[in-house]
Symmetry: T
Subunit: 69 residues, 12 copies
């Protein structure tokens, strides 16, 4: 009866903000995984072009609930 | 004469952004603590509903100055 | 022929957002360093005034490519 | 309307088990704090007497919800 | 001929003990993954209700051997 | 009967030494908290003025025993 | 349009060198995963027999690009 | 007159519980070392057989007092 | 108008104390860098000769303000 | 008279080995910095192409002695 | 009946490679310790002379089985 | 011909200063171990009595050279 969760690591990118990169990661994960429950930001990086942020690159651990059979 | 600070840990939440979650934490803390001085983000997490971010949950350490008696 | 990168640590500040603080750091660094390539956020802090965020202070490691002579 | 949590650090002890030390910490905290919500084990130590465990000493971070006024 | 292992992260829960939460995670993982070999506890958390532990929540990294084709 | 401890984080400052900053933190904490038992240094920082140390700033975790009612 | 990456953790082994263990892990992963992009070494261990290294065991996080549908 | 302690790292195993693995480590250490004083858990791992925990493997740092000559 | 800081890593040494090693590092840095603002101790090591401390070796991260052009 | 060292962070790359990447970083650094003294590996990463290691990318902290004027 | 292991920390050096430094550490340890079982690399450093690696210096934790009496 | 070092962990105490606690640890270690070479501070703690520091307790890793037979 006890809940069990699996945790997967996903990296989202965005040209505009950290939140947008997080949302991109979660929306992509939700296409193949069900019952997404929580996330934790584990790394915030980015790439630079011409002295400006080209895009943010945010690594998340995403937890999702195992379905009970 | 030397300053002494106390550090407390607060978790703020927001449906829209990391900054909003930080501000919510600080505004709540400022209702009961005086002389808030600095903060440090120690964890950025969040919850997911329907494949989207339900809310951000940001943990801060907040430093405040001891009042001199 | 192999690429070599140098990594420098810069702290940007902004009154409005974490992303703005990151961009300020990168734009300042790009005035004196060429070939900026990537960054990693290593610390997110800030200062508080009157129970509100006075400014965000974000520490970055910024990587840049050594020029080939 | 957003929830805000405070996090406090408590160390519980027990002569018999890690779980008992956790429960002792939480029960003691619940006498003075309301709305305890979650905990995280941050350190598991103990003392030794006569070549045996004298008692376990477990440090927890305990999160509790700020009451809405 | 060399062995290769994959590592997955699973969170088990239990109302009674840390060991029970670990076992629940491993038994659930063993339903879909073969050749489970080792685990490492990476986080021990829990939830609180009425001033008592409601359930333990233990995160494991679980290693399993790639089958040789 | 089991002992329970609470842990608080305090930052002391001193113009002369790290030990002085630690003692300032502990003496200030002892004015409002009873049964102080141990400390751990978690960060040693400082500020600079005119190419010299202006003051040391040492963060401590301080453990104190809950009184038995 | 933004890229999203998934990160998986793999452990490779080799009797001869750390690089060989890394390559074994990557070649095995590439049989079932497409678009492998980068890796990071997260742990270097090994086993000993008769006072000599029996084999190296290197844990990698491997990032791979989600295919755009 | 000041006390000095030495710290040694020991790994205990048990088929039944984390506490049993800790006690096994301490009892074995106490056969060759005198004046054992405290321990800290630094890693909790285990091995799996047939989809169940085969045994727990808990790494401790154990402190013991140098005898005064 | 926003302040930007650069962070450099310096190791000072002293035969007599940790504070002296910190001061040596800062005084040397101040000869070539302007606007030194803060430091953080990141490592405290030393060398031993004849069973005594030969010298302390303290690593600092030192922050200094970018001059506004 | 006390020695002071500066620490810089450099990333070397190599298609063949970790040691080669380290040597490339050090040889490049030695073209512009004098009195290089020690290094520490702080990150070992790499890029993958066609299911094989394209190149290793090793981050070093390199310490060098300040010249006495 | 349960196995107990002891863990010791050894630093090996080599002028040619990281693997050679590891092997030197293990072979030296095996002269005085029996039943060496596993190792983990905890630090990879080195010294530089004339703009080249003088030698690698690799720190290992080495686990060995307590003999059953 | 290559040097090999062993690393041991010692905790020194002192009523007066951190440096004194370090020296006490090293002097005690030098009575039973030869060729002590370097140390690294890994933890600085202490005990409190009557609102004042009772004694400092500093944990060191101490490296010493294996004698060549």
């Amino acid at each position: 009866m006890a809940n069990v969760y699996s945790v997967t690591k996903i990296v989202g990118t965005s040209e505009t903000s950290i939140e947008k990169a997080i949302e991109t990661a979660i929306e992509t994960a939700s296409k193949t995984l069900k019952n997404l429950d929580w996330f934790e930001v584990v790394e915030t990086r980015g790439f630079i072009k011409g002295g400006k942020v080209a895009y943010y690159q945010v690594s998340l651990e995403i937890g999702f609930r195992y379905e009970k059979a």
